[in-house]
């Protein structure tokens, strides 16, 4: 069933990153297998070369054409930025290059964990919203930070599950559950840290609207098959959330409606 996010209707709740695939062909097949309608892209400062030489990047143009031809909606990121000013400039460039006002806003505060800097993030988000961007902020799972991002004009939040590329899954389900409960009407996307389809299922069972991941697919032995596995997991988790998961019990509760012991007539 289509769901609204940032003013558009999407059918797939799987947002897929495009980095680190073994070949453009594998990326193309993985996008198709994932069913993703939104894929993330980036901008990189060109490596300086001598005058008269075209500048190219092995992760650049060949892949970019594949991504364009996939028909997926592009979500450029501001990876590598450590200040609001850097992120704002890169977002402006991304809007020009990718022809979209969507931006996955990343402002890193710690190079070891790649944890977002909440202060710079909120400042950048506020300015970019003023400039007409649809900001998808990559943030921590801190409720107050998320509220400040909403105050700044964000209509979507993308809290981390775990540090980028770590594959550790959802390190703090309590915080994510709290976000869902306190922000019931805000589209929430778990971004980063997902390692296996089980993590994606968990995120969806917590009531998150979508999952964004990259390394778990691109680093798999068979990225195309893993993309399909995640697609199925995300669909299963969403259906489970909608269906209503039974409450856990400490003790056994008999399932079969027998009367006492079946061979003892009392």
């Amino acid at each position: 069933m289509p769901f609204p996010i940032a003013g558009v209707e999407l059918s797939s709740r799987f947002f897929l990153g495009t980095a680190g695939y073994p070949s453009p062909l594998v990326l193309e097949q993985a996008i198709r297998a994932s069913g993703a309608e939104v894929v993330t892209v980036g901008l990189k400062r060109q490596l300086a070369q001598g005058c008269g030489k075209p500048v190219s990047n092995p992760q650049g143009q060949g892949y970019f054409e594949i991504i364009r031809q996939s028909g997926a909606r592009l979500l450029p990121n501001t990876a590598g930025c450590h200040t609001a000013a850097e992120a704002i400039t890169l977002a402006q460039m991304a809007r020009e290059v990718f022809d979209t006002h969507w931006i996955k806003l990343e402002v890193i505060g710690d190079t070891y964990t790649l944890q977002p800097d909440p202060f710079e993030l909120v400042n950048a988000a506020a300015e970019l919203v003023k400039q007409g961007f649809e900001v998808f902020p990559y943030c921590t799972d801190d409720l107050v930070t998320c509220n400040r991002l909403l105050d700044a004009g964000c209509r979507v939040l993308m809290p981390w599950g775990a540090p980028i590329g770590s594959g550790q899954g959802l390190l703090n389900p309590y915080a994510l559950r709290t976000l869902r409960e306190r922000l019931p009407d805000v589209p929430l996307i778990v971004d980063a840290g997902i390692g296996s389809p089980m993590d994606a299922v968990q995120a969806m069972e917590l009531g998150f609207d979508a999952v964004l991941l990259n390394s778990a697919v691109s680093s798999a032995h068979d990225p195309v098959l893993m993309a399909e596995a995640f697609r199925l997991g995300i669909e299963a988790g969403r259906k489970a959330w909608q269906a209503g998961i039974m409450a856990e019990q400490d003790m056994a509760v008999a399932t079969t409606p027998v009367t006492g012991r079946p061979f003892v007539l009392a």
Partner: protein, 72 residues
């Protein structure tokens, strides 16, 4: 010919004093197709594509150029 010294992605270049940003990009990317995706900034400020032809470079300007890549 009067010249100025600038940096492009951290590397020093000498160009004519009246060069525009578009002139510079045309020199650096002679084989690029018109409209090929590239973004540019001068001294950390984004310069929109349509403004490149009128932005005259100044001595010591730092130019950075960006291209699309895959990303997560």
């Amino acid at each position: 010919m009067n010249t100025i010294r600038i940096t492009v992605n951290g590397v020093e270049h000498t160009v004519a004093a009246s060069s525009t940003l578009q002139d510079l990009l045309d020199t650096l990317r002679p084989e690029a197709e018109p409209g090929a995706p590239i973004a540019s900034a001068v001294n950390g400020t984004h310069v929109a594509r349509q403004a490149r032809a009128t932005l005259v470079l100044q001595d010591r300007d730092a130019i950075t150029t960006f291209e699309p890549i895959t990303g997560g």
